[in-house]
Symmetry: C2
Subunit: 208 residues, 2 copies
DNA sequence: ATTATCTATAGATCTATAGATAATGC
DNA sequence: ATTATCTATAGATCTATAGATAATGC
């Protein structure tokens, strides 16, 4: 098992660097040379780890990333179970603990550069890892009556999209910290923008 | 003035194609050959219109696009003046009338490929064209008391970001039409997700 | 023997430049 | 003369392949 450990380590290091660079500047902007330089090795050496070249490296990086997020998101949803606001806070905290995802920037341009099978495969994985668990959480909250009925796909997409958005914009000097912005976004989603009336102790069961 | 008209026409055609391709797949994914092929001309001919090459072409395309959106967004805000929900609907309608912006996908990877001056210039223009008018509208709505106090930058960013998001995702077969999704997003922002109590005829002026 | 790297290089693009050509309108 | 295109090509990358080399652990 020593050998295998060894392999994992150096290959994981390649994936780490690939993830940083690809997520930051996109598939097309990053060359194998960029990745090799960052690792302090030669470009051709990457083919030892990924004989399929750039596309295989990208796929491996993306799949590892989605697996990690699937795990993190599901743990977050479990931790806040029964209370949507708590769940969303846990998910936001998970994201802020991670390298910025730039999930949508990736879905934008990067997927288009892959061959159709790989593209399909990654889109499916992204859906299962990030989208579906969140959508299920929104559906459950609707079943509990915690939130009003609304297209759960739209809700999951909006939440993910907004969380992802926090990772762009280079964090200007004047901007509040990410933690605060995430909390405000959750409040925006749940409470909305219109001023609230004083909350009654018990919600009336009225409906037109 | 005939000549100038002539020049505008063929150059505008180049910009039209450049906008479609660049916005769809990103700066790095699109080559000058792609653009020339789409136009039915040779790659070298593009240098007649843009001697500065690819980067100059991208800048001209982006600036034209932002000028157009500045105009459209300000007209939309004016049309719905005094009522934030009406304003947001008008802006959403404006966006749906336009080629998908993929504004954020662009800010993600594309800007990084430009030289620092161009990058700065474009970021500034994007801010003035799209962000600032919307932020001002949110501030005005807060002053009117139409919405609760909240960081207006975050609101403007979230709204733009969500509108932009509608342009990704390839519009699956099962998904509701963009028009409906935009309306739902506006309702999400303004009304929030929590179930509303029956609305009183007059809002109480209470505050802890 | 296996792991992880290297050098060298072929082949494919891509951007950009130089200079020629055809059509149009004075 | 101006406008808009073309051909040809230099120079710079980039991906990927072939085969050599050094270190480690049996």
């Amino acid at each position: 098992m020593y050998m295998e450990q060894e392999v994992r380590d150096s290959t994981q290091r390649v994936l780490d660097v690939a993830e940083t660079l690809f997520m930051d500047r996109g598939y097309n902007a990053i060359t194998l040379r960029d990745i090799a330089d960052e690792l302090g090795i030669k470009q051709a050496s990457l083919y030892y780890h990924f004989p399929g070249g750039k596309e295989q490296l990208f796929m491996a990086m993306a799949e590892r990333m989605f697996d990690r997020h699937r795990q993190g998101i599901m743990a977050a949803l479990e931790a806040g179970k029964g209370d949507l606001r708590a769940q969303l806070r846990e998910v936001a905290e998970w994201f802020s603990s991670q390298r910025p995802v730039k999930f949508m920037g990736m879905m934008h341009a990067d997927l288009a550069a892959l061959n159709p099978e790989h593209k399909e495969q990654l889109a499916r994985k992204a859906h299962a890892a990030m989208f579906r668990p969140l959508r299920d959480a929104f559906v459950a909250a609707q079943v509990r009556g915690e939130i009003r009925p609304m297209h759960p796909d739209l809700l999951a997409g909006s939440f993910l999209w907004l969380m992802d958005g926090l990772n762009y914009g280079e964090t200007r000097s004047g901007a509040p910290p990410r933690q605060v912005m995430a909390e405000e976004l959750i409040s925006l989603l749940l409470d909305g923008l219109l001023p609230r009336q004083a909350e009654p102790a018990v919600a009336p069961a009225t409906r037109g």
